[in-house]
């Protein structure tokens, strides 16, 4: 609730969205985990799939497609998507760098890591580089306090960070063609 949620709330000018066949199959498999009549339970996992298939964010079109898959009212999807911090309601860069900034990380120097990334990429937390490659985001405790400071990019945790490690990671990500998603296996 803390940060202002600046969602893009229109489908105008936003690319259309449709689930891939493999994603639909995965959705069906997830729905089967829950008792009959309780398919709404699958909403969070399916939103993750939609986000991964929509360049890392949830457009109105993507959320409407989720509503259709689960037979929900659109608002039931919007109200959930806007509650959880891992759903991006605006486009993000190809590589979303989520740096933990909660107290145990601060004690081990996360402030310096946030500043270093910001300086290196020329952006502030919440911003995306002009080339669309990187978004820097500060997040709350990721449960990696013993290996702080740390950041998450897609499914991966990058831990015990130093400015040198961050530089190497950024260079490595520049050469990657694929987006890192939470749902990566």
């Amino acid at each position: 609730m803390g940060a202002t949620i600046k969602a893009i709330t229109t489908s105008e000018g936003v690319p259309p969205f449709a689930f891939s066949e493999s994603a639909l199959a995965e959705c069906r498999e997830i729905i089967a985990r829950y008792p009959e009549g309780r398919s709404k339970s699958a909403l969070l996992p399916i939103l993750h799939i939609a986000q991964a298939e929509n360049d890392g964010w949830l457009s109105v079109n993507a959320m409407d497609a989720v509503a259709q898959v689960l037979g929900l009212q659109h608002i039931e999807v919007y109200e959930v998507a806007s509650f959880y911090s891992m759903y991006n309601l605006r486009p993000v860069g190809k590589h979303l760098l989520e740096v933990c900034q909660t107290t145990p990380c601060i004690l081990r120097g996360s402030d310096d890591i946030v500043a270093h990334i910001g300086k290196k990429l020329g952006i502030h937390p919440g911003e995306t580089t002009k080339d669309g490659l990187f978004t820097l985001k500060t997040v709350e405790c990721l449960g990696s306090c013993g290996t702080a400071p740390m950041l998450q990019c897609g499914a991966k945790f990058h831990e015990d960070l130093t400015p040198e490690k961050v530089d190497a990671l950024i260079e490595q990500l520049r050469s990657e063609t694929k987006r890192n998603n939470y749902t990566d296996r």
Binding site: G2, T103, P104, C141, C145, G146, A155
Partner: protein, 452 residues
Amino acid sequence: MGRKLLLEHDDKPGIQGLEVYRAHGGYRSVEKALRTMTPDAITEEVKKSGLRGRGGAGFPTGMKWSFLAKPEGVPRHLVVNADESEPGTFKDRYLMERIPHILIEGMILSSFALGANTSYIYIRGEYFYVSRILEKAIAEARAAGWLGRNILGTGYDLEIYVQVGAGAYICGEETALLESLEGKRGNPRIKPPFPAVKGLYDRPTVVNNVETIAAVVPIVNDGGEEYAKIGIGKSTGTKLISAGGNINKPGVYEIELGVSVEDFVMSDEWCGGISGGRKLKACVPGGSSVPILPAELLFRTAKYEQRLMTYESLSDGGFQTGSMLGSGGFYVYNDAQCIVRSTWAHARFYHHESCGQCSPCREGTGWMEKLLHRLEHGHGRMDDIDLLWDIQRRIEGNTICPLGDAAAWPVAAAIRHFRDEFEYHAKHPTKVRDPKHFEKEPMVRVTRAEMA
């Protein structure tokens, strides 16, 4: 070296997989339980063990299980709380990542005891990769006949599913977790009814922490009485502690409850002392929600007794001079750290994570964050300190769920023990604008040990 019940084999290569896990005694408790014990007998052993909820509240697990309503014809559920989001806590991640099968094994025992045939693990979205490890372990266990229909030919059926969250601390609160598992916003429910009567899909449900469920494995293997022999008083068994902050050896340690706090911090067996050759300043012993303890109250209680790693000893002195064992998220501050800065970060966390249902929490957490931000950044006033005190007091106890209390306590404890530091911030605005203001010039505090 103390006994290890959960992490005994965490260093064995391949322990993530079923074969190696089996080779180290894995799943033998399931054979024992399903073949020779009744569900009630398992609950009885858990009661005898004195096991208390390892998520933070420390409520006796056997008692929680005994509250479960058992109406005829209504399915019951076990839901494992793997939403581990309490700042400072990373033990469940470690356990699930290293030894996923111990959670599955514990879930089979617990589900059998509770009469549940479908159980869920709700894991925080940030741990997506851990959910893959769990799913793999579940598939392995299923293929080997430990899950599915008619387990070991006993007629007992069980399916386990993993559900990922999407970034919300509040979903660690059990009723918010159930809402989230039902595909809704994580707004805690008003209690009663408790989940034991109306939980997931309005069915009787038990929600337990990962570590709690894993601890059922040694309890069934060795018996509740054996488990209760470890520890002191009502703090029985072993506990996973997530050690972080300014120590030489951060990590997850399994300790026998009753180790002294001083040994835990200073001994090379565990934290290995304070890092950077600096002095100990303070410690949050049980996750960010519990009161911070200044150095002079960490190793010794106010009565100057040795402080121990137990539920009772850490809370000795109440909130005036004590704290809580909580989730075991134990993080240490050295003397370069600023209490106002860390309290501001705590307040920011709770403001970000408040679900917004109750106005004292929704408005109060934001107000506290703003006041602490301005104090830390050199724009604060002396009367901000009393205002902060007043706000936290009005949040505590006035909300549906304990997040309000959890937001209030760290602020209250910081002011109670470090008021001089808050006053310093109001008095020296230009000095504190440098974020590392205490690195070169720590605030000198005279400890009772030095006074003596």
